[in-house]
């Protein structure tokens, strides 16, 4: 907000108040027309319900916006945070329950719901390329479908003896883009499935600074691995507004090598299994997740294989604060 913040806030509050009043007025008029004098009102049908929804949304948006602006001016940041968490009715400060999960640390449930074959938990994987692969696939599908429709029109016109030059001018580059998108998708897809899946199992969760844990890496596929490495990394993530954009920045602030494996051959039915140990540094920061900031811990597997591009797969883990060495009441 630029300018004098008080005038800005007052202006916003007045805007939302008028929005609310307009919504109430329209809603009341609409309902009154319908039920008090049904002959002159809008007949019940899609039109009536559409208008009711629009006017009701005016009322909700106006009320929420107005009270949000008023609270922003009338209360402190801390008071607003407490209201958001506990509601307007204040409650006495309860003594801290020792058995609760540590605050602002991600929940453990998504990490512990898959048991491992040899160790306690199989870690969920984050595939950085999956999003891009799905996006390219969706784009290729939609684009090629559109080109097929245009082609049908063009062929139909041609059979009727009319050559639509403009449509042809559009189709030629369009089909080229569609073919390239399809080629890119299938190349990425073959790379994904060709290397084979990677699984990581861990002895225990959550991780606690200063402790050592057994780790098992299983690499499937049919390929010759030139180099394979496992790292434990700590990554900071910050989300911020830049103009009208919302940007997220990540930075690895700590990296610890766990294992380096040289040349190995992997075949179908004979996956590469590597056992190793990981010790968390005593001064490691715990995992943290707030609205705009986060600290993530991940196990990253990086590999280079013959005739395939190098790949990287990451497996998030949760690190608890040092004091919480005994997670007593983890809801599973």
């Amino acid at each position: 907000m630029s300018g004098w913040w008080f005038v800005g806030s007052l202006g916003e509050a007045l805007f939302f108040a008028s929005f609310f009043l307009v919504g109430v007025m329209c809603f009341t008029t609409l309902v009154a027309w319908q039920f008090v004098s049904p002959t002159t009102g809008v007949r019940i049908g899609y039109g009536f319900w559409l208008l009711t929804t629009v006017t009701a949304s005016f009322i909700v948006m106006g009320a929420v916006g107005f009270w949000y602006r008023v609270l922003k001016v009338a209360t402190s940041d801390e008071h607003r945070e407490v209201i958001a968490k506990h509601g307007l009715v204040s409650r006495p400060n309860k003594p801290h329950n020792r058995n609760l999960l540590p605050p602002m640390v991600p929940l453990l449930t998504p990490f512990t719901d898959s048991p491992g074959a040899k160790l306690a938990f199989r870690l969920p994987g984050e595939w950085p390329g999956t999003g891009a692969l799905i996006s390219i696939g969706l784009f290729a599908m939609a684009w090629n479908a559109m080109m097929v429709v245009f082609s049908v029109f063009a062929v139909g016109g041609f059979l009727e003896g009319k050559v639509q030059i403009r449509l042809l001018m559009l189709l030629i580059p369009g089909i080229y883009v569609g073919l390239r998108a399809g080629q890119l998708f299938f190349r990425s897809y073959v790379q994904e499935i060709g290397i084979g899946s990677t699984t990581v199992e861990i002895e225990d969760l959550p991780l606690v600074p200063g402790k050592t844990y057994k780790l098992l890496l299983v690499q499937y596929g049919r390929l010759i691995i030139k180099k394979l490495s496992i790292r434990l990394v700590c990554e900071e993530e910050s989300t911020y507004h830049f103009g009208t954009d919302v940007r997220t920045e990540c930075e690895i602030v700590r990296s610890q090598n766990i294992l380096d494996q040289g040349r190995s051959r992997i075949d179908w039915g004979r996956p590469l299994e590597l056992e190793c140990q990981v010790t968390l540094p005593l001064d490691a920061m715990h995992s943290f997740q707030s609205l705009h900031n986060a600290i993530h811990w991940k196990i990253i597997v990086e590999g280079e294989a013959n005739r395939w591009p190098s790949y990287s797969r990451s497996f998030p883990v949760v690190v608890y604060p040092h004091a919480r060495s005994n997670p007593v009441s983890q809801p599973l």
């Binding site: 801390e78 945070e81 968490k85 400060n93 910050s238 920045e249 930075e251 920061m285 604060p321 004091a323």
Partner: protein, 123 residues
């Protein structure tokens, strides 16, 4: 004025934070509300986040019952997390914050930082 009653401004998780606060040169009947809070906040590249661990608002009878000529003591058990942290993109800091709201609309704010845990160096 806020004064931490511990010997050092560093506390471990589950310790009890003891502090006292007072206001001077202000007439008792000119205070309309007092807010005492123990909060953590993030600073750095990302949008700031704020978490309230302890919050107390004194108004009306509870405010009148307090004798502001002597320091008011507060005891707050600290949580396990988030620990104080200084990273590259973000910093997590803890503080005690006291706000005095006066009848003429003036707001007086004082805050006293402290550390939770010992991970306060840059990694």
């Amino acid at each position: 004025m806020i004064r931490l009653l511990g010997l050092q401004p560093t506390y471990m998780s589950r310790d009890t934070l003891e502090f006292e606060y007072r206001v001077s040169n202000i007439q008792q009947n000119s205070i309309s509300a007092v807010e005492v809070s123990v909060v953590w906040l993030t600073e750095g590249k990302g949008t700031e986040d704020l978490g309230v661990h302890f919050f107390q608002r004194l108004t009306g009878n509870s405010l009148a019952a307090s004798d502001w000529s002597i320091p008011q003591q507060v005891h707050v058990p600290l949580p396990d997390s988030p620990l104080s942290y200084e990273g590259r993109l973000l910093k997590i800091s803890w503080c005690v914050r006291v706000r005095f709201y006066l009848n003429d609309g003036t707001e007086l704010v004082a805050q006293q930082p402290f550390y939770l845990g010992t991970i306060t160096r840059e990694v």
